[in-house]
Amino acid sequence: MSAATKPASTEAALTMSGAEVVLRALKDNGVEVIFGYPGGAVLPIYDAIFNQNAIRHILVRHEQAAVHAAEGYARSTGKVGCVLVTSGPGATNAVTGLVDALLDSIPIVCLTGQVPTHLIGNDAFQEADTTGITRPATKHNYLVKKSADLARVVHEAFYVAKSGRPGPVVIDLPKDILINKAPYTEAPKTEHRSYRPQTEPDAEQIRKAIALLKHAKKPIVYAGGGVINAGPEASRLLADFVHMTGFPCTNTLMGLGAFPADDKQFVGMLGMHGTYEANLAMHDCDVMLNIGARFDDRVTGRLNAFSPNSKKIHADIDPSSINKNVPVEVPIVGDAGRVLAALIAAWKEDGAAQDKAALTTWWRRIDEWRGIDCLRYRQEGKIIKPQHAVKRLYEITRELGRETFISTEVGQHQMWAAQYFGFQKPNRWMTSGGLGTMGYGLPAAMGVQIAHPDALCIDIAGEASILMNIQEMGTLAQYRLPVKVFILNNEYMGMVRQWQELLHGGRYSESYSAALPDFVKLAESFHAKGIRVTDPADLDAGIREMIAHPGPVIADIAVAKDENCFPMIPSGAAHNEMILGPDQEGGVAGVTDEGKVLV
């Protein structure tokens, strides 16, 4: 093309490198923080980061942690979390985090470096087929092969990550695309060509739902992470709806905080380690309203015995979640907040009277179940019960009144945290629900602390899980992030040990946490404070010391080694076959091989 025919405007626009275009697009999409780790393929972006102040880069110690940190950031703020990693090993290290975000519907945009376009497919140094590897690990992914597409792809990635059912999006960026000049274009004002998820519920479906709910004798509201994802307003609407109807409400693991734990209409978490009253109410109800939950196998137990006599209403933003595991009478596609607003309006409008007498009888039933007090435990003797440690942590943070965020690793401690820490508000609870990723909690807490510098951010951890991303103690030190790691140290991969005890004849194959580090010294070597508590009498003081310390802390709490997490619905069992406690462990003897194949 001769110089004369080149449009002048294009010339003028091409003043920015691809890397600068990427940063500008991030900024225009509201990114303030990016969690990353450098390498050859992304050096142009690091160069651009060096030259600006709008976006803060947090240098993690492992790419998996960058994604979990972005998840913690996203889940505690409602914003899209942003990640930057290099090609090859940088991208493959990020994969666990991406799948974690996919299963828990967390909006993430992850930029991965790539070898230059002319080397793609050549087995070049640090080349991996990132879009191939991450295709089933993301909601969507892109490989940018033309500079002209760069800005549009970044804008689109943010739109895809946060709209509909949120999820992780990868943008693979060949190094030549980052170095070459590229045009910047604003985010398009027009609708996306093909991806336009339905957010507004269908009025007819709402009417059908209300007709069922008005005549329910034994109703229950079962709310999940979709309510949290729909923003804090959705949680307010959930409370309004539950209060105006007088219905009992249960939350999934991902939904904790969507409805206040203290509310008398809250019957606790449901599912494998949920409360007796929540699971029995699910089993016996006649009308179930599921909002933003997905009938996950941890929740339903044995499918053919799941809530056998109820009519089910399922509101979900993702049509593929509806009728996937459990057939429902009234499917509603839409955003949880919009659905709740519509339900509230329709409930008020509908003149039909509620069967108040039936509801009273139903509550009497539920109160009987509550009377079992399924979460009771006895703290006695010289050994700290893990449940007690979480309960005291909750009570002390509550008494202090500070804004508190909790993350967890994966295992028994995670379930005890869900059972004994009460969440009154959404966005305060970060846990790896769908993937169950050990090593999630510390980096997630780090991301939360970045977003909420003055809040109290605690990772309730197990001694095995914490070692999976322990290197992030370095990140805490570098950025002076006062995250508290509260280890329930039972010297076992407790959840594995529990299954081995209950289902595999007590053969504790490879589940002992041998050769543990001295966590106090470990903390100190990372410039943090270390605390060890072994005596129940010192527990409160240890917790208070941990919270009072202005910097990062590891509190290593020695807890009972053989404690099991109850109540429990053994795999393959039904809600009404739950085991309440150790006296009833024989109840597991009946687990069939069919049940044992389930995880």
């Binding site: 089933p136 093909s194 049509p319 009728n323």
Partner: protein, 172 residues
């Protein structure tokens, strides 16, 4: 609920997608990742700009599985439209096949006679072979191949099914 335990049925699903790199891998990966069947899959651009491709998938499953397949396809970002032709009414399904038959003498005469009956065209001939081209529903091609087998069927290449609804109703 009966719908969920229903006997498997065949479904011909038409999917309009953005014609972008990786789209086929996304669709195929969805089927393999979630354990769905693919009996056949065809794809080609169908609009004047070449930006939109049409994928025709023939699959089978219970009603619940087929509903899942459609919902899962529909949630892929580059997918514009998913249509279950089997469910939505009368439709046409066609497949093209190239069929090589090798033989001499009476076998050649018999091959030509059968081809004529099936309206297969000869598109290549040597003194010892024919290549027939035929279009039709899959079972018609199956039947033709079965008859050619004893005569000297040497090679078959088939496109897989393409399908379209009857009548004025359109997908785009």
């Amino acid at each position: 609920m009966s719908e969920f335990d229903s006997a498997p049925r065949a479904a011909t699903i038409a999917v309009l997608v953005e014609n972008e790199p990786g789209i086929l891998a996304r669709v195929v990966g969805l089927f393999s990742g979630r354990g769905y069947n693919i009996d056949s899959l065809t794809v080609a651009p169908v609009d004047e700009t070449g930006r939109i491709s049409r994928i025709t998938i023939v699959t089978s499953g219970t009603e619940m599985v087929i509903e899942q397949i459609k919902a899962q396809l529909d949630r892929l970002v580059p997918v514009h439209k998913v249509s279950d032709l089997t469910l939505e009414g009368p439709h046409l399904t066609r497949e093209l096949a190239l069929i090589k038959v090798v033989g001499t003498g009476d076998d050649r005469v018999e091959a030509l006679r059968l081809a004529d009956a099936f309206r297969a065209r000869v598109v290549d001939a040597t003194t010892t072979s024919f290549v027939f081209e035929m279009t039709g529903a899959g079972d018609k091609i199956d039947a033709f191949c079965a008859l050619m087998r004893p005569i000297g069927l040497a090679e078959v290449s088939r496109t897989g099914a393409v399908a379209i609804a009857r009548g004025p109703r359109g997908l785009i």
